[in-house]
């Protein structure tokens, strides 16, 4: 990557982060959704500490996954509608680079706040003390896969009006492995078992998503721009 295209890359990332946290951006919305949706569970299943401790890793991960999902449907759509995506497609980054920049921005602006807020929710859900470290680490390691896979779905549905529902139909089945490995790791820590194996698999899932995600997103965007 030459110096100029690196500049474009960081510029694009900064622009998208600023947009996500400006008026009407997705950053605050995803975080609020994360906080509210997790607090629904004690109302739903009852406030017994033992039950909450048992389901805490799964609940936090599933809700983080959904919060990530609801923030994805506008990932490319705004730029597609106002034509900036046509401009970006001509930049020296190429569409794969543009997709990667937008994915990075999405992760930093929308997903990272969820990771930061997760210990607080662990507290509310009575998560065992041994599992906090693994939970935060598994979120850091696994959520990039959510953004990368989700970007593909967002790119495929970019020209679809009200594509949000379709997006979830496409993306959720692909999220299954990430969820299984991540919750497996947190559960292992909560039960005093070494979580190294599920964490390694989680990292592998993220790396694979890094290989496939930007490329497939670029293919889908090219299709929409034709």
């Amino acid at each position: 990557m030459t110096a100029s295209s690196f500049g474009i890359f960081t510029g694009l990332v900064k622009r998208d982060i600023r947009l996500a946290w400006s008026q009407g951006g997705t950053g605050t919305m995803a975080l609020s959704f994360f906080l509210i949706a997790v607090t629904l569970f004690p109302f739903g299943v009852g406030p017994e500490p033992k039950i909450l401790a048992r389901i805490a890793p799964g609940v936090i991960w599933v809700v983080a996954l959904l919060a990530c999902l609801i923030s994805l449907d506008r990932l490319y759509q705004a730029d597609f509608e106002d034509g900036s995506l046509d401009d970006l497609a001509l930049s020296p980054l190429g569409l794969s680079g543009v997709a990667l920049a937008k994915i990075c921005a999405h992760w930093v602006s929308t997903v990272l706040p969820l990771v930061v807020a997760s210990p607080l929710l662990g507290l509310l859900m009575n998560l065992p003390a041994e599992a906090y470290g693994t939970m935060v680490f598994s979120l850091l390691l696994g959520t990039p896969a959510l953004s990368l896979i989700g970007s593909m779905g967002a790119a495929l549905t970019v020209s679809v009006r009200r594509g949000g529902v379709l997006l979830s139909l496409l993306v959720l089945p692909l999220y299954v492995p990430t969820l299984i490995f991540a919750v497996g790791a947190v559960d292992a820590s909560a039960n005093m078992v070494d979580p190294a194996q599920p964490l390694a698999l989680l990292g592998a899932a993220s790396l694979l998503a890094l290989v496939v995600g930007p490329f497939a997103s670029a293919q889908a965007l090219r299709l929409a721009l034709e």
Partner: protein
Amino acid sequence: MHRFANPAQFNRLADRILPWAKFVLAASLLYGLYLAFLGSPPDRQQGESVRIMYVHVPAAWMAMFCYMVVAGASFTEIVWRHPLALLAGKAAAPIGATFTALALITGALWGKPTWGTYWQWDGRMTSVLVLFFLYLGYMAIWRSMDEEDKAGRAASILALVGVINIPIIKFSVEWWNTLHQPASVLRLDGPTIDSSMLWPLLLMALAFKAYFVIVFLYRMKLEINRRKLTVLRMSQVNRR
């Protein structure tokens, strides 16, 4: 491969295959059903409910096979822009989704008397369920856009990503299951399958495959004719 890109040539080929496929279907289905229901013994442990297997196992095989057809067609479409590949994927997906649903339903019906439950979050069942969702996503994206070819190509990208994901899903859910339920009661692979049970199974599998070929070819022909009709209508409108 591009020899069959000509729809007329494809139609001729399909017309030549169809009667044979129908003959194979009729013969193998009749003899297979006879063997499955009357000509084979009930299982020592499962009793009469083992006969569900003669529908369940071929349906599950076809569920995987149809996805490979969809994925192969998608790959051909993305790489070579083969004009019929797009239609092949569209034609195969609903058949595959139906076989997947059939496998899930018959599995549940078999599970109730054998395991005592309709559904268990077993690795294999869960991965087939995810496969079903992938089919639904593929078909939903086909319907989502006004421009059909564009929708088809978007669906092709999804199908290919799904192909990478299928082994991971299968592996992850099986791993996930063993963590929670070590040494569960589930045993799909009986010790050794006796030839009195193997024959009806293979015949039913052949019948299902022939059924797929017939429906697939008819759906392809339908799609080709539908496109011809659209082009004809367009040209008539333009002439006016």
